[in-house]
Assembly symmetry: C2
Homo-oligomer: 196 residues x 2
Protein backbone atom coordinates (compact mmCIF):
# COMPACT_ATOMS: atom_id res chain seq x y z
CA UNK A 1 0.00 0.00 0.00
CA UNK A 2 1.11 3.55 -0.72
CA UNK A 3 2.58 5.69 2.08
CA UNK A 4 1.58 9.36 2.15
CA UNK A 5 4.29 11.43 3.82
CA UNK A 6 3.07 14.69 5.36
CA UNK A 7 6.27 16.69 5.58
CA UNK A 8 6.81 20.15 6.98
CA UNK A 9 10.14 21.85 6.63
CA UNK A 10 10.81 23.52 9.95
CA UNK A 11 10.31 20.41 12.09
CA UNK A 12 13.58 19.45 13.77
CA UNK A 13 13.34 15.66 13.88
CA UNK A 14 12.51 15.76 10.16
CA UNK A 15 16.25 16.26 9.59
CA UNK A 16 16.61 12.52 10.14
CA UNK A 17 13.88 11.71 7.63
CA UNK A 18 15.21 14.17 5.06
CA UNK A 19 18.63 12.60 5.08
CA UNK A 20 17.55 8.97 5.02
CA UNK A 21 14.23 8.82 3.16
CA UNK A 22 15.66 8.41 -0.34
CA UNK A 23 17.78 5.44 0.73
CA UNK A 24 14.89 3.91 2.62
CA UNK A 25 12.61 4.20 -0.43
CA UNK A 26 15.22 2.59 -2.67
CA UNK A 27 16.09 -0.18 -0.25
CA UNK A 28 12.51 -1.03 0.75
CA UNK A 29 10.96 -0.55 -2.69
CA UNK A 30 8.06 1.43 -1.23
CA UNK A 31 5.84 4.03 -2.91
CA UNK A 32 5.80 7.35 -1.11
CA UNK A 33 3.64 10.35 -1.97
CA UNK A 34 4.98 13.66 -0.61
CA UNK A 35 2.56 16.23 0.73
CA UNK A 36 4.27 19.37 2.05
CA UNK A 37 1.99 20.98 4.67
CA UNK A 38 2.00 23.48 7.51
CA UNK A 39 2.53 21.72 10.80
CA UNK A 40 2.70 25.18 12.31
CA UNK A 41 -0.92 25.96 11.38
CA UNK A 42 -2.06 22.70 12.95
CA UNK A 43 0.02 23.18 16.10
CA UNK A 44 -1.32 26.70 16.51
CA UNK A 45 -4.84 25.28 16.59
CA UNK A 46 -3.71 22.84 19.30
CA UNK A 47 -2.13 25.65 21.36
CA UNK A 48 1.12 23.78 21.01
CA UNK A 49 4.02 26.17 21.50
CA UNK A 50 7.28 24.53 20.51
CA UNK A 51 10.28 25.06 22.81
CA UNK A 52 8.67 27.00 25.72
CA UNK A 53 11.23 28.15 28.32
CA UNK A 54 9.91 25.89 31.08
CA UNK A 55 10.63 22.91 28.86
CA UNK A 56 14.32 23.66 28.55
CA UNK A 57 15.34 20.14 29.62
CA UNK A 58 13.15 18.70 26.87
CA UNK A 59 14.63 20.99 24.23
CA UNK A 60 18.20 20.16 25.23
CA UNK A 61 17.27 16.50 25.08
CA UNK A 62 15.75 16.85 21.62
CA UNK A 63 18.94 18.19 20.05
CA UNK A 64 21.04 15.47 21.69
CA UNK A 65 18.58 12.79 20.64
CA UNK A 66 18.68 14.00 17.02
CA UNK A 67 22.47 13.97 17.14
CA UNK A 68 22.60 10.45 18.54
CA UNK A 69 20.03 9.07 16.15
CA UNK A 70 21.82 10.62 13.19
CA UNK A 71 24.94 8.75 14.32
CA UNK A 72 22.88 5.58 14.70
CA UNK A 73 21.68 5.87 11.10
CA UNK A 74 25.20 6.61 9.86
CA UNK A 75 24.21 10.14 8.79
CA UNK A 76 26.51 13.16 8.91
CA UNK A 77 26.62 14.81 12.33
CA UNK A 78 24.28 17.82 12.50
CA UNK A 79 25.42 21.10 14.03
CA UNK A 80 23.01 21.41 16.91
CA UNK A 81 21.20 23.47 17.95
CA UNK A 82 20.38 24.38 14.35
CA UNK A 83 18.85 27.85 13.75
CA UNK A 84 15.32 27.61 15.13
CA UNK A 85 12.49 28.46 14.71
CA UNK A 86 12.48 29.30 11.01
CA UNK A 87 11.82 32.93 10.11
CA UNK A 88 10.46 31.89 6.71
CA UNK A 89 8.68 28.69 7.57
CA UNK A 90 5.92 29.06 4.96
CA UNK A 91 8.36 30.06 2.23
CA UNK A 92 10.43 26.93 2.85
CA UNK A 93 7.30 24.85 2.35
CA UNK A 94 5.93 26.88 -0.57
CA UNK A 95 9.16 26.06 -2.38
CA UNK A 96 8.45 22.47 -1.39
CA UNK A 97 5.03 22.65 -3.04
CA UNK A 98 6.62 23.91 -6.27
CA UNK A 99 9.32 21.26 -6.14
CA UNK A 100 6.70 18.59 -5.59
CA UNK A 101 4.64 19.81 -8.56
CA UNK A 102 7.77 19.71 -10.71
CA UNK A 103 8.86 16.29 -9.44
CA UNK A 104 11.96 17.17 -7.42
CA UNK A 105 10.58 17.35 -3.89
CA UNK A 106 12.82 14.65 -2.44
CA UNK A 107 15.88 16.48 -3.78
CA UNK A 108 14.74 19.78 -2.30
CA UNK A 109 13.75 18.13 0.97
CA UNK A 110 17.16 16.57 1.48
CA UNK A 111 19.17 19.54 0.22
CA UNK A 112 17.35 22.14 2.30
CA UNK A 113 17.86 20.12 5.50
CA UNK A 114 21.52 19.52 4.66
CA UNK A 115 22.03 23.26 4.18
CA UNK A 116 20.11 23.98 7.38
CA UNK A 117 21.52 21.36 9.77
CA UNK A 118 24.99 20.81 8.31
CA UNK A 119 25.86 24.28 6.96
CA UNK A 120 23.77 26.41 9.34
CA UNK A 121 21.73 28.06 6.56
CA UNK A 122 18.16 28.38 7.80
CA UNK A 123 15.59 26.67 5.56
CA UNK A 124 13.42 29.22 3.75
CA UNK A 125 16.15 31.88 3.74
CA UNK A 126 17.65 33.33 0.57
CA UNK A 127 21.02 31.81 1.47
CA UNK A 128 19.52 28.35 1.88
CA UNK A 129 17.40 28.45 -1.29
CA UNK A 130 20.33 29.85 -3.28
CA UNK A 131 22.63 27.05 -2.22
CA UNK A 132 19.97 24.40 -2.79
CA UNK A 133 19.04 25.70 -6.27
CA UNK A 134 22.68 25.89 -7.26
CA UNK A 135 23.32 22.34 -6.12
CA UNK A 136 20.25 21.02 -7.96
CA UNK A 137 20.67 23.08 -11.15
CA UNK A 138 17.48 25.08 -10.58
CA UNK A 139 16.92 28.80 -11.07
CA UNK A 140 16.63 30.65 -7.76
CA UNK A 141 14.56 33.38 -9.43
CA UNK A 142 12.11 30.97 -11.07
CA UNK A 143 11.69 28.86 -7.94
CA UNK A 144 11.19 31.75 -5.53
CA UNK A 145 8.80 33.49 -7.93
CA UNK A 146 6.72 30.32 -8.32
CA UNK A 147 6.66 29.94 -4.53
CA UNK A 148 4.87 33.30 -4.29
CA UNK A 149 1.99 32.37 -6.61
CA UNK A 150 -1.54 31.71 -5.34
CA UNK A 151 -1.20 28.19 -6.75
CA UNK A 152 1.62 27.43 -4.32
CA UNK A 153 -0.43 28.71 -1.38
CA UNK A 154 -3.51 26.80 -2.57
CA UNK A 155 -1.56 23.54 -2.76
CA UNK A 156 -0.09 24.16 0.69
CA UNK A 157 -3.50 24.80 2.20
CA UNK A 158 -5.04 21.78 0.53
CA UNK A 159 -2.29 19.56 1.92
CA UNK A 160 -2.69 21.07 5.38
CA UNK A 161 -6.43 20.41 5.27
CA UNK A 162 -5.81 16.85 4.10
CA UNK A 163 -3.30 16.37 6.92
CA UNK A 164 -5.83 17.62 9.46
CA UNK A 165 -8.49 15.31 8.05
CA UNK A 166 -6.07 12.39 8.40
CA UNK A 167 -5.56 13.27 12.10
CA UNK A 168 -2.04 14.63 11.63
CA UNK A 169 -0.81 16.75 14.59
CA UNK A 170 2.95 16.69 14.07
CA UNK A 171 5.66 16.16 11.50
CA UNK A 172 6.86 14.06 9.90
CA UNK A 173 3.71 11.96 9.64
CA UNK A 174 3.10 8.92 7.49
CA UNK A 175 -0.37 7.79 6.52
CA UNK A 176 -1.08 4.27 5.26
CA UNK A 177 -4.76 3.73 4.51
CA UNK A 178 -6.49 4.88 7.71
CA UNK A 179 -3.41 4.47 9.89
CA UNK A 180 -1.33 7.41 11.04
CA UNK A 181 2.31 7.13 12.10
CA UNK A 182 3.99 10.13 13.66
CA UNK A 183 7.70 10.78 13.83
CA UNK A 184 10.85 9.77 12.02
CA UNK A 185 11.07 6.90 14.50
CA UNK A 186 7.77 5.47 13.24
CA UNK A 187 8.76 5.29 9.56
CA UNK A 188 9.65 1.62 9.90
CA UNK A 189 6.29 0.91 11.57
CA UNK A 190 4.55 2.64 8.64
CA UNK A 191 6.51 0.56 6.14
CA UNK A 192 5.66 -2.66 7.97
CA UNK A 193 2.00 -1.65 7.96
CA UNK A 194 2.07 -0.81 4.25
CA UNK A 195 3.02 -4.44 3.53
CA UNK A 196 0.16 -6.07 5.41
CA UNK B 1 27.62 0.27 31.78
CA UNK B 2 24.62 0.15 34.07
CA UNK B 3 21.25 1.51 32.90
CA UNK B 4 19.19 3.44 35.43
CA UNK B 5 15.49 3.19 34.60
CA UNK B 6 13.36 6.05 35.92
CA UNK B 7 9.91 4.52 35.92
CA UNK B 8 6.62 6.11 36.87
CA UNK B 9 3.48 4.05 37.04
CA UNK B 10 0.78 6.16 35.48
CA UNK B 11 2.59 6.83 32.20
CA UNK B 12 0.73 5.21 29.33
CA UNK B 13 3.58 4.23 26.98
CA UNK B 14 5.25 2.56 29.97
CA UNK B 15 2.80 -0.31 29.44
CA UNK B 16 5.10 -1.44 26.63
CA UNK B 17 8.20 -1.29 28.84
CA UNK B 18 6.47 -3.02 31.74
CA UNK B 19 5.50 -5.97 29.60
CA UNK B 20 8.79 -6.40 27.77
CA UNK B 21 11.55 -5.22 30.14
CA UNK B 22 12.14 -8.53 31.90
CA UNK B 23 12.63 -10.35 28.60
CA UNK B 24 14.87 -7.57 27.28
CA UNK B 25 17.06 -7.74 30.39
CA UNK B 26 17.38 -11.52 30.12
CA UNK B 27 18.05 -11.52 26.40
CA UNK B 28 20.50 -8.62 26.37
CA UNK B 29 22.24 -9.46 29.65
CA UNK B 30 22.09 -5.85 30.80
CA UNK B 31 22.14 -4.47 34.35
CA UNK B 32 19.16 -2.25 35.12
CA UNK B 33 18.60 -0.25 38.30
CA UNK B 34 14.94 0.66 38.92
CA UNK B 35 14.10 4.07 40.36
CA UNK B 36 10.36 4.66 40.77
CA UNK B 37 9.71 8.42 40.64
CA UNK B 38 6.95 10.96 40.15
CA UNK B 39 6.81 12.05 36.53
CA UNK B 40 3.70 13.96 37.54
CA UNK B 41 5.65 16.24 39.91
CA UNK B 42 8.16 16.99 37.15
CA UNK B 43 5.52 17.59 34.50
CA UNK B 44 3.66 19.94 36.83
CA UNK B 45 6.79 22.08 37.09
CA UNK B 46 6.97 22.14 33.29
CA UNK B 47 3.28 23.17 33.02
CA UNK B 48 2.78 20.03 31.02
CA UNK B 49 -0.87 19.01 31.17
CA UNK B 50 -1.32 15.52 29.78
CA UNK B 51 -4.27 14.96 27.46
CA UNK B 52 -5.69 18.52 27.12
CA UNK B 53 -8.94 18.64 25.11
CA UNK B 54 -7.43 20.58 22.19
CA UNK B 55 -4.99 17.72 21.69
CA UNK B 56 -7.67 15.13 21.14
CA UNK B 57 -6.11 13.93 17.86
CA UNK B 58 -2.82 13.33 19.67
CA UNK B 59 -4.49 11.39 22.46
CA UNK B 60 -6.40 9.18 20.03
CA UNK B 61 -3.15 8.57 18.20
CA UNK B 62 -1.32 7.64 21.40
CA UNK B 63 -3.70 4.83 22.27
CA UNK B 64 -3.57 3.46 18.74
CA UNK B 65 0.21 3.69 18.65
CA UNK B 66 0.50 1.79 21.95
CA UNK B 67 -1.84 -0.86 20.57
CA UNK B 68 0.15 -1.22 17.35
CA UNK B 69 3.52 -1.29 19.07
CA UNK B 70 2.28 -3.92 21.53
CA UNK B 71 1.38 -6.06 18.53
CA UNK B 72 4.78 -5.37 16.99
CA UNK B 73 6.51 -6.63 20.15
CA UNK B 74 4.25 -9.68 20.30
CA UNK B 75 2.66 -8.49 23.56
CA UNK B 76 -0.96 -9.10 24.56
CA UNK B 77 -3.36 -6.56 23.11
CA UNK B 78 -4.16 -3.80 25.63
CA UNK B 79 -7.73 -2.63 26.18
CA UNK B 80 -7.44 1.00 25.11
CA UNK B 81 -8.17 3.58 26.25
CA UNK B 82 -7.12 2.26 29.66
CA UNK B 83 -8.51 4.09 32.73
CA UNK B 84 -6.64 7.42 32.78
CA UNK B 85 -5.40 9.46 34.55
CA UNK B 86 -4.77 7.45 37.71
CA UNK B 87 -6.69 8.54 40.80
CA UNK B 88 -3.97 7.10 43.05
CA UNK B 89 -0.87 7.87 41.08
CA UNK B 90 1.40 8.37 44.08
CA UNK B 91 0.12 5.26 45.81
CA UNK B 92 0.91 3.15 42.76
CA UNK B 93 4.49 4.42 42.90
CA UNK B 94 4.82 4.26 46.68
CA UNK B 95 4.05 0.56 46.38
CA UNK B 96 6.75 0.53 43.72
CA UNK B 97 9.25 2.01 46.16
CA UNK B 98 8.44 -0.71 48.71
CA UNK B 99 8.68 -3.42 46.07
CA UNK B 100 12.00 -2.04 44.93
CA UNK B 101 13.38 -2.02 48.48
CA UNK B 102 12.26 -5.62 48.89
CA UNK B 103 13.64 -6.72 45.52
CA UNK B 104 10.44 -7.41 43.58
CA UNK B 105 9.98 -4.17 41.62
CA UNK B 106 10.08 -5.77 38.18
CA UNK B 107 7.36 -8.23 39.25
CA UNK B 108 5.17 -5.42 40.58
CA UNK B 109 5.87 -3.23 37.57
CA UNK B 110 4.74 -5.86 35.10
CA UNK B 111 1.81 -7.14 37.16
CA UNK B 112 0.34 -3.71 37.87
CA UNK B 113 0.42 -2.75 34.18
CA UNK B 114 -1.09 -6.09 33.19
CA UNK B 115 -3.92 -5.55 35.67
CA UNK B 116 -4.37 -1.97 34.47
CA UNK B 117 -4.12 -2.36 30.67
CA UNK B 118 -5.34 -5.92 30.23
CA UNK B 119 -7.92 -6.27 33.01
CA UNK B 120 -9.00 -2.62 33.32
CA UNK B 121 -8.00 -2.33 37.02
CA UNK B 122 -6.47 1.10 37.53
CA UNK B 123 -2.94 1.02 38.93
CA UNK B 124 -2.85 2.28 42.53
CA UNK B 125 -6.43 1.18 43.23
CA UNK B 126 -7.32 -1.39 45.89
CA UNK B 127 -8.57 -3.75 43.19
CA UNK B 128 -5.30 -3.53 41.26
CA UNK B 129 -3.03 -3.93 44.30
CA UNK B 130 -5.16 -6.81 45.58
CA UNK B 131 -4.88 -8.72 42.34
CA UNK B 132 -1.17 -8.00 42.01
CA UNK B 133 -0.39 -9.07 45.61
CA UNK B 134 -2.42 -12.22 45.19
CA UNK B 135 -0.60 -13.12 41.98
CA UNK B 136 2.81 -12.47 43.53
CA UNK B 137 2.13 -14.09 46.94
CA UNK B 138 2.44 -10.81 48.84
CA UNK B 139 0.26 -9.51 51.65
CA UNK B 140 -1.99 -6.65 50.51
CA UNK B 141 -2.15 -5.34 54.09
CA UNK B 142 1.62 -5.34 54.61
CA UNK B 143 2.35 -3.79 51.22
CA UNK B 144 -0.22 -1.02 51.45
CA UNK B 145 0.77 -0.22 55.04
CA UNK B 146 4.45 0.03 54.08
CA UNK B 147 3.50 2.28 51.15
CA UNK B 148 2.07 4.78 53.66
CA UNK B 149 5.27 5.13 55.72
CA UNK B 150 7.47 8.25 55.59
CA UNK B 151 10.28 6.02 54.30
CA UNK B 152 8.29 5.24 51.16
CA UNK B 153 7.64 8.93 50.56
CA UNK B 154 11.28 9.81 51.25
CA UNK B 155 12.51 7.25 48.72
CA UNK B 156 10.01 8.50 46.15
CA UNK B 157 11.12 12.10 46.62
CA UNK B 158 14.80 11.21 46.45
CA UNK B 159 14.26 9.36 43.17
CA UNK B 160 12.24 12.26 41.77
CA UNK B 161 15.04 14.69 42.69
CA UNK B 162 17.62 12.38 41.12
CA UNK B 163 15.50 12.15 37.98
CA UNK B 164 15.28 15.92 37.77
CA UNK B 165 19.03 16.24 38.27
CA UNK B 166 19.55 13.78 35.40
CA UNK B 167 17.38 15.95 33.13
CA UNK B 168 14.42 13.58 33.13
CA UNK B 169 11.17 15.19 31.91
CA UNK B 170 9.08 12.17 30.98
CA UNK B 171 8.68 8.45 31.57
CA UNK B 172 10.00 5.92 31.03
CA UNK B 173 13.52 7.36 30.98
CA UNK B 174 16.79 5.49 30.84
CA UNK B 175 20.05 7.03 32.01
CA UNK B 176 23.43 5.65 30.98
CA UNK B 177 26.30 7.67 32.44
CA UNK B 178 25.45 11.24 31.43
CA UNK B 179 23.16 10.24 28.59
CA UNK B 180 19.40 10.39 28.87
CA UNK B 181 17.03 8.33 26.72
CA UNK B 182 13.32 9.06 26.89
CA UNK B 183 10.55 6.70 25.93
CA UNK B 184 9.96 2.99 25.54
CA UNK B 185 11.06 3.44 21.92
CA UNK B 186 14.53 4.58 23.06
CA UNK B 187 15.27 1.54 25.24
CA UNK B 188 17.27 -0.08 22.45
CA UNK B 189 19.28 3.14 21.95
CA UNK B 190 20.05 3.14 25.69
CA UNK B 191 21.20 -0.47 25.54
CA UNK B 192 23.43 0.23 22.53
CA UNK B 193 24.93 3.18 24.38
CA UNK B 194 25.52 1.12 27.54
CA UNK B 195 27.79 -1.17 25.50
CA UNK B 196 30.09 1.53 24.12
Amino acid sequence: MKITAYLSIGSTYTFLTALRLRDVIDREGITVEFRPFSVRAIMREMNNIPFPPEKEAKVRYMWRDIERRAAGYGLPSPKVPAPYPLQDFDRANHVGIIAEQQGWYIDYFEATYRAWFLDGLEAGSDANIHQVCQGLGRSFDDVTAAALTPEAEAGYRANTEAAKAAGVFGAPSFVVGDELFWGDDRLEDAIAFSRR
